[in-house]
Amino acid sequence: MNDATQNLESDSENLGKAEPYQHLYVVIEHEEGIPVPVSLEMLGEARRLMDNFNKKYSSNEKVVAVVLGDNVRHLCEDLIKFGADAVVYANNPSLKHYTNLLYTKIICQIVEDKNVARSISPNRSENYKKPRYMFFSADNTGRHLSSTVLAQLESGLASDINKLVISDLEIRHEHKTKGQLAKYEKTLEMYRPDFSGFLWTTILCLDNRNPAIARDYHPQSCSIIPGVFEPLTKEDQRTGTIIDFEPQISDDDLRVKVLSRSIIKSTIDFESCKIIVSYGRGIRDSPEENFKLIEQFAKSLNAEIGISLPISKKPYQTKDQRLLSYMIPERVIGTSGRKVSPVVYIAIGISGAVQHLAGMKESGFVVVINPDMDAAFRDECDLFIKGRMEQVLPVLTELIRKHMLTIEKRA
């Protein structure tokens, strides 16, 4: 099957009882071979969790990436460099694009397949039934895919998770433990923010120990919010194994057909931005120059640029193509444009009209740069920098660059 199995096993492990539930399977989402960012983020977190797990429990369970696609082997190789111990790869033209029915079936085939398990850990897979843990992405595709996979595997799923901890817990539960105190080892604590944004709810997927309703629930699964965890830095020396999987596909499985896929003109992605810098009519004294300052400022913070509504009406005559390309409705923030809630929102030369505020009031930390102390924005921000942008921005940009360098040097 493969040659690298020796790399996966170490001698000092406790072979003991081969467990029925092993490894953390991460279902990788990709667009024609390019992983979506959250896939690498999940892998990074999986790696960190399992490294701690293996240390704590003196074991040797693996991070297994699952890839379905058509001719995307190079992706599998990359995933190993990003932390996967093994990558199970199902290659088939029908898998080129995600359809729920087909993907669910094949992923379940993979995670319950004993041969695959043997390839991953040859010495410990006699009792293998299912994964111990499973990760999915919490986006359109991942949320639905995780739901159906877990329905098929008949186990528990927590969605939109932004914190994970593996621990041994003592639990007393009316139904699960019949009121008795029971010890649940190697339990995955899955934290999700609730709808109000105030509370963290911790979800557990636990076996029913109560004899009347005895049931094992594995894998403990969750879908993970994009932009929360950090991916590992790509390491070319990292090794792992790619396991080719032959999926069983019947005609009936193919009954949902994707007729076409069109990519919408890429929208300006305000969602995954931590910082948004917006500007308004304050640039009017010299639009081209001021815009350049704003652009550089935004660049120093890796920020996306938004505009206030009047700017989208192109009120300034200019030949500057770059400036013109930014004065478009897609960049408007407000009731007639986008609603954003970045970690930091910086408003430059914007007075703070009600309809603009409505578009960004959910932002974490709001900074306003404006020479006019009477601007409506002053009551709706955390930091009000009184000053003209021509003076403030160059200084601030320089300071940020300086501090960035120090941080990078330290890292």
């Binding site: 986006d139 739901s147 799923l157 009316e174 105030f198 509370l199 309703i213 007729l259 300086k402 501090h403």
Partner: protein, 302 residues
């Protein structure tokens, strides 16, 4: 020697899964001192995503003269959700799945109840197309729909923004909207034979493009209002026995997951207290720069 000029079209049966949820609008919502939702004091309404799903069913009613059944799992007050859904969709049948043993169910156990319910819809004929909302405003998992679909054996098609049914070939032609974070957005066109399970994208809005469809729309809307005034007439209530449910697979016993604990998230959103900075003072700007970088590198809690 007879010749059929037009085959009678088999009627279309539609099922909708809805949820009663707290009304989060200002003036209606109540919060406890610790910031948690005060459910006792907060009004309940048909959830907004459930409403989108109901609209999709209404589209089928207006355009295809479909038969529409709406089901919900919940306590007796969940009736309100059914009534509101009937106003939107002119539904012909309303189901309430209610039993004490259903309480505490996570999505898998809920899906079990719902799939039993759906098969009893439309006088026992079930549904050719089942529609659910994208997610609930309070639970927010978005899992129940797909899991119910899987248990029914229907392919699940999510984030539907537009669809139509070809009644001759008994298939659905749907458009999906997929947001790939950090990438682009995609619109996908899908075809699948009925029966299917779809979830309506929150942005779903049915469109009726001819005068006759719009007139049918107006007639149905009027009918809906008078039907909903007598909604009890259309209501069927099912308990666990009525559904033929196995107690081991529903409610808490049938739930793999539990809520272990609930804690306050350290950062709370609140009214802002503004700090003033002199833009000409480099030292002050320096503290701003440092603060910005600090915020940038902290893990975001969204």
């Amino acid at each position: 020697m007879g010749r059929y000029d037009c085959m009678p079209v088999r009627p279309l049966n539609v099922g909708v899964i809805v949820k009663l949820e707290p009304d989060f609008s200002e003036g209606n919502v109540s919060y406890n001192p610790d910031g948690t939702l005060n459910r006792a004091e907060t009004k309940n309404i048909l959830g907004p995503h459930s409403a989108a799903a109901t609209l999709a069913a209404f589209y089928c009613k207006v355009k295809y003269d479909a038969r529409v059944a709406i089901g919900t799992m919940g306590p007796p007050i969940a009736n309100q959700a059914l009534q509101q859904a009937q106003i939107i969709s002119n539904a012909d049948e309303l189901h309430l799945y209610s039993d004490r043993i259903f309480a505490g169910a996570d999505t898998l156990a809920t899906a079990e109840v719902l799939r039993l319910g759906v098969s009893r819809m439309n006088n026992g004929l079930g549904a050719d197309i089942v529609i659910s909302g994208h997610r609930a405003s309070d639970g927010e998992t978005g899992q129940t729909g797909p899991q119910t679909a899987w248990k029914l054996g229907y392919p699940f098609i999510g984030n539907v923004i537009d669809f139509h049914i070809d009644q001759e070939s008994r298939s659905i032609h749907a458009k999906r909207f997929i947001s790939l974070y950090g990438f682009y957005d995609v619109i996908e066109e899908i075809r699948a034979p009925l029966p299917v399970f779809i979830s309506a994208d929150p942005s779903y809005k049915p469109s009726f493009n001819t005068v006759s469809e719009r007139l049918s729309l107006a007639r149905n809307l009027n009918e809906a209002r008078s039907k909903a005034d007598n909604y009890e007439k259309y209501l069927q209530v099912y308990n666990s026995e009525g559904l033929g449910a196995d107690p081991k697979f529903v409610g808490l016993p049938g739930s793999p997951t539990i809520v272990y604990k609930v804690e306050k998230i350290p950062k709370a959103k609140a009214k802002r207290r503004v700090e003033f900075i002199d833009g000409n003072d480099t030292a002050q700007l320096d503290t701003v720069a440092k603060k910005l970088l600090k915020l940038m590198t902290e893990a975001p809690i969204k």
